[in-house]
């Protein structure tokens, strides 16, 4: 399976880059560029590459640009996708930290629509926001929101998680209601992996899997643990697992990775990643309940 991860690097000087990605001494080698793995798309990529190696599948290719929030790098990516990208050449696309822009999203969507075959589509972070804002959420195969972002998906009027009506923190018990509401208004992908104290795998049919163990409290403040989860689930899909199974395995493996690393809230995601191969191997070896 040819798979592509699309996102940004938090640097102003990083150019548009399309090509292979290779982990090297705790960093990522992207052609002639070397990028630190701290959080965001580099953390997703590092997890995806590590998981791919464990699973024995080809590593992802990447489409990246530098963006520190002004949107120029994201615009370069959007433009590249609409002008010169061959969507039918990839089987799986993972969209990540891109500046939400409905107009650009819809242009990318229209470019995809012209093709006979679509890749599987996973969206997280900013691109998940814009996929929902555009009204085309149901065309995606998987969204990976946290509980707060789930409230945003459930609110048919909210333009951003910051403005979600009735946004009440730590109300994870409302997740089933929020999931149902998101599907009722066409604002959810075909599958959802909702990250929280228990991770939930859901579809229009309701909650399909609930992964609660192990509990590693210190994971919550660590930036990038949601990114590693999206990297894991992407690699599992690329290895041929169903999306639902991939979500459940990834959630379990991400938790095991935390337990093995035994972090404090001061850890970085780079401190967790060395435990990923062992965690994923263990999750794969467990019998499905």
């Amino acid at each position: 399976m040819r798979w592509l991860i699309v996102g940004t690097v938090p640097r102003d000087d990083f150019p548009l880059y399309e090509g292979p990605c290779r982990p090297a001494s705790g960093r990522l080698q992207l052609g002639v560029h070397s990028v630190a793995v701290k959080r965001g798309t580099p953390a997703l990529l590092a997890a995806a590459c590590s998981a791919a190696e464990t699973l024995g599948v080809a590593p992802p290719e990447v489409l990246l640009a530098g963006d520190i929030g002004r949107g120029q790098g994201s615009a370069r990516i959007y433009e590249h996708l609409t002008r010169s990208f061959e969507f039918s050449s990839v089987d799986l696309m993972v969209f990540h930290y891109l500046q939400p822009d409905v107009d650009w999203h819809n242009r990318v969507y229209m470019a995809m629509e012209e093709k006979e075959t679509w890749p599987l589509l996973i969206a997280d972070a900013g691109f998940m926001y814009v996929a929902k804002m555009s009204g085309f959420a149901e065309s995606y195969d998987l969204f990976t929101p946290d509980v707060g972002e789930m409230a945003f998906l459930a609110d048919e009027e909210a333009p951003h998680p910051f403005y979600t009506r009735g946004f009440i923190l730590q109300e994870e018990e409302r997740a089933p209601e929020l999931i149902a509401r998101a599907y009722a208004h066409g604002n959810a992908a075909r599958n959802l992996l909702v990250k929280g104290s228990c991770d939930l795998v859901a579809s229009r049919d309701g909650i399909l899997e609930r992964i609660c163990d192990p509990v590693v409290e210190a994971m919550e403040p660590i930036g990038g643990t949601g990114d590693t989860l999206t990297g894991l689930v992407s690699a599992l899909v690329a290895a041929g697992h169903s999306i639902v199974r991939s979500c459940a395995l990834a959630a379990r493996a991400n938790r095991l990775m935390g337990a093995l690393a035994d972090p404090t809230p001061a850890f970085s995601v780079a401190d967790l990643l060395p435990s990923l191969p062992q965690a994923l191997t263990r999750a794969l070896s467990e019998k499905k309940p």
Binding site: E149, T164, I168
Partner: protein
């Protein structure tokens, strides 16, 4: 301080009718307007924002808002943080910042605080910031989905609350805006 005023205004949003001139779900929910007292301020703000490559449009305000200027500036909510900073720097103070929305939108008004012993985490909306209480050093920033989040995290993590730049000075999006709120709450809680 103007920044505080913008946050205060964001907390008192009111609803407006949808003109219905946009695409499927974008509607007007992803847009907002700046209301100024004088037309000259609108013109200055429009010039300022356009020169910063922020797409804006000058429009006539709805009847409910015709108390000050007869023009408002429409902009994308996702660029609110950058808009606020640019206006602040130029000493341009809008009377109101309002989402174009037919239903009341409540921005985050609650903070979630989690105490890990030596570490304290504050969450505002989708953004979290964690500090080591022993030396007031920011040890982590997480959450959020816009591209300024990883950049903000790299700029803040490892610095003390005194050394770290306020997120509003570096951020460009609503995630950066939410991080500013979390940061302010963290500073408040760590003050004594």
């Amino acid at each position: 301080m103007f920044w505080q005023k913008v946050i205060g205004m964001a907390r008192s949003f009111v609803g407006l009718d949808k003109p219905g001139d946009r695409g499927p779900q974008e509607g007007l929910s992803s847009r907002a307007i700046l209301v100024f007292h004088h037309t000259s301020e609108v013109i200055r703000a429009e010039e300022l924002l356009k020169s910063a490559n922020i797409p804006v449009m000058v429009k006539g305000p709805p009847p409910e808002l015709r108390t000050g200027c007869d023009l408002v500036i429409e902009f994308a909510l996702t660029s609110q943080l950058e808009v606020a900073r640019l206006l602040d720097d130029a000493r341009l103070q809008p009377l109101q910042v309002l989402p174009l929305q037919n239903l009341l939108l409540e921005p985050v008004s609650l903070y979630h605080v989690k105490d890990f012993g030596d570490f304290l985490m504050v969450r505002a909306a989708n953004m979290k910031i964690t500090v080591d209480k022993r030396d007031r050093r920011i040890v982590n920033v997480s959450g959020g989905g816009c591209p300024d989040v990883p950049y903000l995290a790299e700029s803040l993590v490892g610095k003390t609350l005194e050394e770290a730049p306020p997120p509003r000075t570096l951020g460009h999006t609503l995630c950066g805006y939410a991080l500013q709120l979390a940061y302010e709450e963290l500073v408040r809680r760590c003050a004594g």
